[in-house]
C-alpha cells in the first residue's frame, strides 16, 4: 500500500510547488474571514469603521465578549454601543445543546431504521414511498413553515424544546436518502448468514447494520448537529420566549435594531466566535471518523 501510494503520488518538483501554492491560497481564502471575525470582535466600536485595513486595531478590547457573556451590566453595554437586550449565554447555549443533541440522536436513529427498510426489506410500494420521501426534498421550505407552525401551536408545543425539535425529530428526507445510499453499498453476506441462523430483523439491524454503518451515521450525526445548531428561522418563530431561545436566535439581536441602523459588529463577531466553539469541538472530536472511511455508493 505504501509502495503504490508513493508511485501514484510521485510528482515533479514544479507540479508539487504549484499544488502547494494553490493549497496555501485555498487555506488563506478559507481562514482569512475567520481571522477578520476574531479581529473585529476585539475592535472597540469607535474604531470599527475608522481603521478598516488595520490587521489589528490600535486599541483592543474584550468588552464585546463581556457583553455577549452577560458579564457587563446593561447600562454599560449600551454605553459601549451595544444593545439593551442581554444575551443569557449560559441558558441559550444549554437550549441549543438540548435541541441539537435531541434532534441528532432521534433523527439519526429513526432515519437509519427507515433507510434500512428502504435498502434491505421488501414491501409493497417501496419504490413509490421512497420516491415520495426524496421528492419532498424539493418542496420549498417556505411552504412548510406556516402550516408546521400552526400545527405545532395546535399541539401546544410553542415555546417548548419539543416544538423546536418536532419537524426534524423523526426524520428528514435528506437523512433517509443519505443513509440508504450507504446501506445499499454494504455487502449482504453477513446479514444473509445471520438470517440463516434465524436472527430477527431487529437483531440484524442492531448487530450488523448499525456497526457497519457507524461511520456514515456519525457523518450524518455531525451534519445534523451542525445544521440544527445553526438553524435560525424555525427556532425563532417557535421559541421566542427568552427561556427557550437557542443561541443562534439569541445572537440575532446583534443584527439590525432599527431600520437604517448598523448591526452591532463587535458584539455579533464576538457572539459568532463563541457560538462556533461547540461546533468546532464536535468537528475536532468526530472529524477523523467522518472522513477516514466512509464508502459511498451515490444513487442506486
Amino acid at each position: 500500500m505504501s509502495n503504490s501510494n508513493s508511485a501514484l503520488n510521485k510528482k515533479t518538483g514544479l507540479t508539487k510547488g504549484i499544488l502547494w501554492a494553490l493549497t496555501a491560497l485555498l487555506l488563506f481564502v478559507t481562514l482569512f474571514p475567520f481571522f477578520w471575525v476574531f479581529r473585529t470582535s476585539l475592535t472597540p466600536k469607535s474604531l470599527i469603521f475608522t481603521e478598516p485595513t488595520a490587521i489589528m486595531p490600535s486599541v483592543r478590547t474584550w468588552t464585546h465578549y463581556g457583553r455577549v457573556l452577560g458579564l457587563i451590566d446593561r447600562a454599560r453595554a449600551i454605553e459601549l454601543g451595544g444593545t439593551g437586550q442581554s444575551v443569557n449565554f449560559g441558558l441559550n447555549i444549554l437550549n441549543s445543546f438540548i435541541v441539537s443533541i435531541g434532534v441528532t440522536i432521534f433523527q439519526v436513529l429513526f432515519s437509519s431504521m427507515a433507510a434500512f427498510a428502504f435498502a434491505r426489506l421488501k414491501f409493497r410500494f417501496r419504490e413509490m414511498l421512497f420516491a415520495l420521501y426524496v421528492s419532498t426534498l424539493m418542496i420549498p421550505s417556505i411552504v412548510m413553515m406556516l402550516p408546521n407552525f400552526v400545527f405545532v401551536k395546535d399541539l401546544h408545543l410553542l415555546n417548548t424544546y419539543l416544538g423546536i425539535m418536532a419537524p426534524t425529530l423523526l426524520m428528514t428526507p435528506f437523512a433517509v436518502f443519505f443513509l440508504r445510499q450507504f446501506m445499499l453499498g454494504i455487502n449482504r453476506e453477513l446479514e444473509e448468514a445471520a438470517f440463516l441462523d434465524g436472527a430477527g430483523l431487529g437483531v440484524v439491524f442492531w448487530e450488523i447494520i448499525i456497526p457497519l454503518c457507524a461511520n456514515a451515521m456519525m457523518t450524518l450525526a455531525v451534519i445534523t448537529f451542525i445544521n440544527t445548531w445553526n438553524d435560525y428561522m424555525w427556532p425563532l418563530i417557535v421559541g421566542k420566549k427568552e427561556e427557550i431561545r437557542t443561541l443562534t436566535v439569541a445572537l440575532g439581536i446583534f443584527r439590525l435594531q432599527t431600520p437604517q441602523g448598523q448591526p452591532d459588529w463587535g458584539g455579533m463577531m464576538a457572539g459568532a466566535t463563541l457560538a462556533m466553539v461547540p461546533t468546532l469541538g464536535i468537528l475536532i472530536l468526530f472529524g477523523r471518523r467522518i472522513v477516514n472511511s466512509i464508502g459511498f455508493s451515490g444513487f442506486r
Binding site: F49, I105, L146, F149, T160, L236, Q257, T258
Partner: protein
Amino acid sequence: MKKQIFTILLAACLVLTLWSNGKEDKTSGPVTVQYILWDANQLPAYEKCAEDFMAANPDITIEITQMGWGDYWTGLQTDMVGGTAADVFTNHLAKYPDFASKGQLVDIAPMVARDKVDTSVYMNGLDGLWATKDGKRFGLPKDWDTIAIVYNQEMINAAGYSAAEANSLNWNAKDGGTFEKFIAALSVDTSGRNGLDPNFDSENVACYGLALNHFDDRGQAQFSPMAVSNNWMYTDGLYNANYHFDDPKFIATIQWFVDMTEKGFLAPYEMTANNANPLFTSRQAATVFDGSWMIGYYSSSSEFPVGFAKLPAGPAGVKSMTNGLADSIWVGSKHKEQAWLWVKYLASAEAQNTVGTFGVVFPAIESGVKNALAAYDAKGLDVSAFTEEATNPGETFVYPIVDNGVKISEIMTQTFDSIFLGVTDAESSLKEANKKILDLF
C-alpha cells in the same frame, strides 16, 4: 458498554423533551400583558415605565420582549397567524395600514372617547396618523422623529463654517444655493483640493461632502427634505394615491442629486447602496442626512465630535418629514381592557416624561421633549436642530399613508437604482415609474 451509554443518552433526551412543557394561560387573578418592541436602546426606558405601571396596577404584569427590526415583523405575522401574538406591540406607519385593513388591530376610538383621553396634547399632527378617515383609531402617539444634517465638526470647521452657518443654509434645484457650496467646500479629492477649486478631481475623491442611503419611495432622509422644500408633495394628502413622482419639481430635485454625484460632492450609489453611515464614521464623508433615532448611534460610533444642523431651507422653507410610533392592541388579545390601560399609560404625559429622561427618543408630548433635551444635553449633545424643526410651525410634514406600499417601494427603489447607476435618465424613468404606480390603483 457503548450501547448502555447510548440508551442512557436516549432516556435523558426523552426526559428533557417531556419536562419542558408550555405554560398555560391564566384566566383568573393577576393578568399578564405581553408587550413587544424592536429598539433595544429604548428597552430600559420602557422597562422603567412598566415598573411604574405595575406599581400602580398590581393586578397587571407587563412582560416585555424585544426583537430586532429584521425579525420583528415576520415574527409578529406568524404569531398573528398562530393566534399567539403579543397583546400590545409597537407599530410603524409603514406597516399599520395592512394590519388595520386585515382586522388585526383593536379600534381604540371608543375607549379614547369613554376615558376622555385628550388627543390634542400630541405634537405636529402626529395624532392624525393613527386615526383613519372613517373615525377609527389604532394607536396613540408615543414619540416622533425628524431629519437633520449630521456633520463632522472638525471637517466643517476646517472648511471655514461655524455651527451657526451650517444651521442656516439654503437650497434650490437650480444652483443648489449655499448648501451646494457647503458640500462642495467639504468635498476633498486625493490631492487635497476641495470642491470649490476648479481643478477638483471628481473621479478621485477622498472625502465626499454628503453621503445618503440608497433612495426608496419615501426618501425620508434622502430626497424628501429637498423635494418637499421645492414645493412638491408625494400625493394630494393622507390616504390619497395620486402620486406625483413625474412632477417637474420632483424631477429637477432628483436631477440635482444626480449632478452632485457627477460633481463628486455626493458619494456614488455604489458606495452607499448598503448603508451610508460607515462612510461618515470612517471620515470619507463630511455630512449625512439622518433621523433623530440615530443620534445615539452617531455620537457613540464616531471618533470625532458630531454636530447636528437644521436641514437647508428650500423655496418653501425648511421641510423635514416627521414620523412617529404608536402602540397598538392586537385583536386576538385575551386581555384587551388591561392592554388598553397599558397603551393609555404609555401615551400619557407621565410615561412620556419618564421615557424622555432616558434621552433615546423624543416623546410625543412636549413636556417629555424637555426631559429628552435635558438628557441629551447631559451627554454633551446639542440636538436642538431636530426639536426646532418639530416645534417651528410649518417645518414638518407627514408621509402620506397609502395602500400598496410594498409595490410602490419596490418600483421606486429599482427606478432610483437605475438612475443613480446611470442606466436611465431621471426624467423618463420617473415618469414611467409614476405611471406604473398609478396603474396599481
